[in-house]
């Protein structure tokens, strides 16, 4: 037990910090800051979903906001119609997952190459953007919910405690929920990546052909991973819609999609912690830049991306990990009697 904890000290430390923040922050921050931090956490969940499918699955999803936005709109429309939030939340997870599964089926079983996967996913989110954007007017509604076109959907019901529609979550409860979801997603993905499925998924990223030669169905692994990513992005979208009680077509925009990719590139594709932290840091930075008129926030983000692509192409987390590896205990298997083995290994 103690050995296992020591071997995974990084995860244990992350869990402790996360738990401390979940309990401590509501007592320290004022309401405004707590709301801001909550949305950064929602972005971190979104970043994790792309970190999983892109960083580990090697699926170049350029239009990840499609699933985020679909989750948000699904929740909004379902919650307005149903007047409670539990079923809409489930739908906001399942519908994007189903969309990802359907799209993934055609892309992966049709052996579409990586570049075109990028193009197709980007196109997908732009289709959503244009369709939703042009549905202003009373004739476009689903049940009681007006889709609202470029005006978006206002007055989306907040989340309520399951089975009690009148008992809505206050900002503190919402913060704790988002933090808990973030930790569940983070540790869930960690656990998943340690299973055979997760390890084979990484192998698919490395060499799809070899995975097939070993008897694994690479297409199925990508499909399942893509669907899980879609589900998590949808969940983040649901939280986002309920956080601001508002959603607009901009959620499907290129800017939103690009932002997720920037979080991933800066934090480090191939890690979970990196994109998660960089999503929070960059969202904070974007918000700060928004308070002044001197430079455009988009330009700064672009510059940051350029700097990272040129100078730290693997992102923050791998770089920091390499610098730290000498100072911290690393989970390693015992050294082998390698020389001896090499000597007697002659067949």
């Amino acid at each position: 037990m103690i050995k296992a904890l020591y071997g995974n000290w990084g995860l244990v430390a992350t869990a402790l910090v996360g738990f401390a923040l979940m309990v401590g922050l509501p007592n320290v921050l004022d309401l405004y800051d707590l709301l801001q931090v909550t949305v950064y956490i929602i972005y971190a969940i979104l970043a994790l979903s792309l970190a999983f499918i892109w960083g580990y699955g090697g699926i170049l999803c350029f239009g990840h906001s499609a699933f985020f936005g679909l989750g948000a709109y699904t929740y909004a429309i379902a919650a307005i119609n149903m007047g409670e939030s539990t079923a809409p939340m489930a739908m906001a997870i399942l519908l994007p997952a189903a969309l990802a599964a359907a799209l993934g089926y055609f892309m992966f079983y049709g052996r579409i190459s990586d570049v075109y996967v990028g193009v197709i996913t980007l196109t997908l989110t732009l289709i959503f953007y244009n369709v939703v954007n042009s549905t202003a007017g009373a004739e476009y509604h689903i049940g009681r919910a007006l889709i609202g076109g470029y005006n978006g959907i206002p007055n989306i019901p907040s989340l309520n405690f399951p089975l009690s529609p009148d008992d809505a979550l206050d900002p503190t409860a919402m913060f704790v929920l988002c933090m808990a979801v973030l930790m569940i997603v983070y540790f869930g993905l960690h656990g998943l990546l340690a299973t055979r499925f997760g390890r084979v998924l990484v192998a698919v990223r490395e060499n799809e052909q070899r995975v097939e030669f070993l008897g694994y169905d690479a297409r199925l692994h990508k499909l399942v991973a893509f669907s899980i990513g879609g589900a998590i992005a949808g969940l983040a979208g649901c939280l986002f819609a309920t956080w601001g009680n508002y959603v607009s077509p901009g959620i499907f925009g290129v800017q939103q999609s690009a932002q997720i990719i920037i979080w991933l590139m800066v934090g480090g594709a191939g890690t979970l912690l990196g994109p998660m932290l960089s999503a929070m840091a960059l969202s904070w930075l974007t918000a700060e830049l928004g308070t002044q008129q001197f430079v455009n926030a988009g330009a700064v983000l672009g510059a940051i991306l350029l700097v990272f692509v040129l100078l730290v192409p693997r992102g923050m987390a791998p770089m920091v990990a390499e610098r730290l590896v000498r100072w911290l205990p690393a989970p390693r298997r015992p050294a082998r009697l390698t020389h001896e083995l090499a000597q007697k290994g002659k067949v």
């Binding site: 030669f213 008897g215 083995l341």
Partner: protein
């Protein structure tokens, strides 16, 4: 009589107007080690890819122990017990040697058994020094052996090797040849190879390809002594 381990009937592959493989009837018995040779463009590699499901034939069929496998996907063919080593080492460059082999072993074994199989292969291939290193950082020869290890971890019924000696140093070639002979004690093999001196060290039976068809089949002595083979491929210098 039991059916041959692997057999092709009238196997043909066209690329546009070019017939890369033309009406090939080939069969391999259990336990055999067969070398496929032939000049560049003879259709060896295409034939190899047809056997492994990387390419689908224009016509004809491939049978594994009498069972049709022609239209199966590469991973389904692999599951039936065919292990493949490609010409350019096809490995997981970003993963360590250990993790590479684990992926292969975990297909067939549970956690504990997979760990044991991996250790066995690391020892057999003398890759202990590199067990924790990313395979992408290893020398070409070691990558070739890691790939051989990937194939062996699956304990396949039939092993196909595409130019296993390509790009190896003399010393590495000697070891690879020894490995192949050792593997053949328990596994039938088909080896596509260019290198004549390497062929001589491992081959018993040889199939010679020329212009998409089988020119001749026979044991080493017959093939190297055959005038037609010399003309298309070996040249008098090698055969002498």
């Amino acid at each position: 009589m039991s059916p041959p381990l692997i057999q092709t009937r009238g196997l043909t592959k066209n690329f546009g107007g070019v017939q890369a493989v033309r009406d090939v009837d080939f069969s391999l018995a259990e336990g055999e080690l067969r070398c496929l040779i032939g000049p560049n463009g003879a259709g060896k590699s295409t034939f190899f890819k047809l056997l492994t499901g990387q390419l689908k034939p224009t016509s004809g069929s491939v049978l594994l122990r009498g069972k049709e496998i022609t239209r199966l996907h590469a991973h389904e063919i692999a599951r039936l017990g065919i292990g493949i080593k490609t010409q350019v080492p096809s490995v997981f460059n970003g993963l360590s040697t250990h993790d590479n082999l684990w992926i292969a072993a975990a297909r067939h074994h549970g956690r504990r058994a997979a760990a044991r199989v991996v250790e066995e292969q690391i020892e057999r291939l003398a890759l202990g020094l590199f067990a924790d290193q990313p395979v992408g950082q290893l020398a070409h020869g070691h990558r070739q052996w890691v790939e051989l290890g990937l194939v062996l971890c699956g304990d396949p019924d039939l092993i196909l090797l595409d130019e296993p000696a390509a790009g190896l140093t003399e010393e590495e070639r000697v070891r690879t040849a020894a490995l192949i002979r050792d593997i053949n004690r328990s596994h039938p093999l088909i080896v596509v190879e260019h290198d004549m001196s390497f062929i001589r060290t491992i081959a018993r039976h040889i199939t010679v390809f020329d212009r998409g068809t089988i020119l001749m089949e026979g044991d080493v002595g017959q093939v190297f002594g055959n005038q037609a083979v010399r003309d298309v491929y070996l040249g008098k210098r090698v055969a002498a």
